[in-house]
């Protein structure tokens, strides 16, 4: 039976891209590297107790007192395991990836909400991005960006972006028709409609997307460590490959603590918006 050469085509495409767009990828690489390093430099530059305090305050303000306490305890545990540097590195990577996912994802989601055709095209693409085993993204990422944090961030963005796109589009589509009509009846322009009505009303949904995106980013930590993204993923990976169960567990625990903390904070953010809305 004839074999459709999908794999060959992808390989040809990628090698064509790498040879013809080298400077483009180099540009992206240096930008991403700067962003990640800036975050990492900031997080590691601040003394750990101040970072913990800031986290606790944010958690308390956006979520609740319990989350604030959890932030203090959890981050102290990480510090005492000697994983502070790695945690901050991972945080920098996650924040960079989330940031990029938002910058691309929210406008894309808005566009999808206003354009049914684009919506129909993008939905399967998003499904594809999210369900493709994340490992698959590692190969082209390495092709384009070598090893290190940048391909890790890129693979993370691709894998983690779909929820924020999807939920931005959904949130805007769910704004009640009569509210839209009322805004039009007062002579709102489409950008006034977007910024004064649609986005504010969709915000809780968009924040739910942000939450999912952050969680997916964290789930990529170990995978992206395989291509040298470093951070906590590296600790876990080392634990696995060198059969050091204790170390691996500690790395895993740090990831879980970070995930829970970011989850509660972003969820709190969404709930706060929802409270105002009601």
């Amino acid at each position: 039976m004839y074999k459709i050469p999908i794999g060959d085509i992808v390989e040809i495409l990628i090698s064509w891209l790498t040879t013809n767009f080298t400077s483009f990828f180099d540009g992206i690489k240096s930008i991403l590297l700067t962003v990640i390093n800036t975050f990492a430099w900031i997080f590691n530059g601040i003394p750990f107790y101040i970072t913990i305090l800031i986290f606790a305050l944010i958690a308390w303000k956006f979520a609740n007192k319990g989350t604030g306490i959890f932030a203090i305890v959890g981050l102290l545990v990480i510090q005492s395991m000697g994983l502070w540097r790695e945690t901050m590195q991972t945080l920098a990577l996650v924040i960079t990836a989330t940031f990029i996912a938002l910058i691309i994802g929210i406008p894309l989601g808005i566009w999808m909400s206003r354009n049914d055709k684009l919506n129909n095209i993008m939905r399967p693409v998003l499904d594809f991005m999210q369900t493709m085993p994340a490992f698959v993204y590692l190969i082209p990422a390495v092709y384009f960006f070598d090893l290190g944090q940048v391909p890790g961030a890129v693979a993370t963005v691709i894998f983690a972006m779909p929820p924020v796109v999807r939920l931005t589009s959904l949130g805007i589509r769910q704004v009640p028709e009569d509210v839209i009509e009322a805004s039009h009846s007062f002579g709102a322009t489409s950008s006034q409609l977007l910024f004064k009505v649609q986005i504010p009303l969709a915000l809780p949904t968009i924040l739910a997307g942000l939450n999912q995106t952050i969680m997916l980013s964290l789930s990529m930590v170990v995978i992206s460590a395989m291509i040298g993204a470093g951070g906590l993923g590296n600790v876990v990976l080392r634990g696995i490959t060198q059969m050091r169960i204790g170390e691996g567990f500690e790395g895993g625990l740090a990831v879980v603590i970070l995930a829970m903390l970011l989850d509660r904070i972003t969820q709190g953010l969404g709930q706060q918006k929802r409270k105002i809305k009601q």
Partner: protein, 397 residues
């Protein structure tokens, strides 16, 4: 002055409205057009003019095209063809900027389900129209507070819409519409979502606001009582066609067709039908200077048992009965003034039947309808009141 004029307005839903016009011309009805072509006829050749300061009510059964019609007036729905003149300016086919300007300055809309912005406080909802016009915050808030005062919601500036009852939410909707100081208010079943008591209250409030503000209001409802209460004129729609336009009385007294008749059949006529529409012209009347003899002759000629007496200017003096008059003649007296009964009830032309009825209990004589200068316009017999209630009055006035 005409404020809003609609000429031959059509709205046909579907991909090729042009192909539908010939079918409409042939008189094929809406249902068949939908079945044959998949096109919906929303508004079918509507023409009407609304005067400045008028409350123009549009009424009709569900699906008759009321919402479509009112949404064409600010082009929330794009008309298929026709003209809509606001202050003489045709807004069909005008530029986006012009339309935006009309929506911002001239026309405001109030919705059945209030359509408030749930994420904004009452104050920020009310100021929305001005915010859209990039008005500064101070002016915005000041004007919003003024409108909130107008609708009786002072003190609720910082509440969220969801904290308010339906009636209060619609007051916010009303305040929001008033804040941009538009000349024209479009109200699509604005009170239909409210329970009856609140609804009545809102109607009264709208009328009292209207007394002060003299807006031009186009009001959609499917409730006849509401239409009769607040409408200066009423248009009745059926299948996208305006079948009749008239004052509440005209609609009640001479319904254009069976559809309208069915609409008005169970209305409380006692509230709506007025004295002037059931009164009879007075052919036989006697002047006080004419004397008893003339009075008796006139009564005999017309075979009636009493006759009204007026002075030179047709001001009512009272009534004399044939018995009193013949008695006087037997005594060889001729002084009409001495036998005039003064206990005659008088009313103005716009008195409703409901108010007329008790008058027949307090006096045995017919009721006299006077004009603004107290001259006799006509008289009403008890029997014409009953006929008026049943909608059977003959129009010989």
């Amino acid at each position: 002055m005409v404020k809003v004029e609609v000429k031959n307005l059509f709205k046909i839903f579907g991909p090729t409205p042009k192909k539908i016009y010939p079918l409409i011309k042939q008189g094929i009805n809406k249902e068949q057009i939908l079945k044959q072509t998949g096109h919906g006829v929303g508004v079918n050749d509507a023409s009407f003019a609304v005067e400045e300061g008028e409350i123009f009510v549009v009424m009709g059964l569900s699906g008759s095209g009321k919402s479509t019609l009112i949404r064409c007036l600010n082009r929330l729905i794009e008309p298929s063809s026709g003209e809509i003149l606001i202050d003489g300016q045709n807004i069909v086919g005008c530029s986006k900027e012009t339309l935006q300007d009309v929506r911002r300055k001239k026309v405001a809309m109030i919705f059945q389900n209030f359509a408030l912005l749930p994420h904004r406080s009452v104050l920020d909802n009310v100021g929305f129209g001005l915010e859209i016009q990039n008005e500064d915050l101070n002016t915005r808030n000041q004007k919003s507070i003024e409108s909130l005062e107008l609708v009786g919601l002072k003190g609720y500036e910082n509440s969220m819409p969801s904290e308010l009852s339906g009636g209060m939410q619609q007051r916010v909707g009303l305040a929001r519409a008033l804040t941009t100081n538009p000349d024209i208010l479009l109200m699509d079943e604005a009170f239909s979502a409210l329970d009856p008591l609140i609804r009545k209250e809102m109607q009264d409030e709208l009328l009292s606001l209207q007394d002060r503000m003299h807006k031009t209001i186009i009001f959609i409802t499917h409730d006849l009582d509401e239409a009769l209460k607040i409408g200066d004129r009423i248009a009745i729609m059926k299948d996208g066609i305006i079948v009749q336009i008239g004052t509440p009385e005209e609609i009640l007294n001479s319904p254009a067709d069976d559809y309208v008749k069915e609409f008005v059949q169970d209305v409380n006529r006692a509230k709506i039908v007025t004295a002037s529409s059931i009164m009879k012209k007075v052919d036989t009347i006697v002047s006080s200077k004419d004397g008893v003899r003339v009075a008796v002759r006139k009564m005999k000629e017309a075979s009636i048992s009493s006759i009204f007496v007026v002075d030179k200017a047709r001001h009512l003096k009272g009534i004399v009965t044939i018995d009193d008059a013949t008695n006087l003649l037997k005594q060889n007296k001729n002084d009409l003034e001495s036998i005039i009964h003064k206990n005659v009830n008088t009313v103005s032309g716009n008195t409703s039947i409901e108010e007329l009825l008790p008058l027949f209990i307090s006096s045995p004589y017919p009721v006299v309808v006077l004009d603004d200068d107290n001259r006799v316009l006509g008289i009403i017999f008890k029997v014409s009141v009953l006929a008026g209630l049943l909608g059977e009055e003959d129009n010989d006035v």
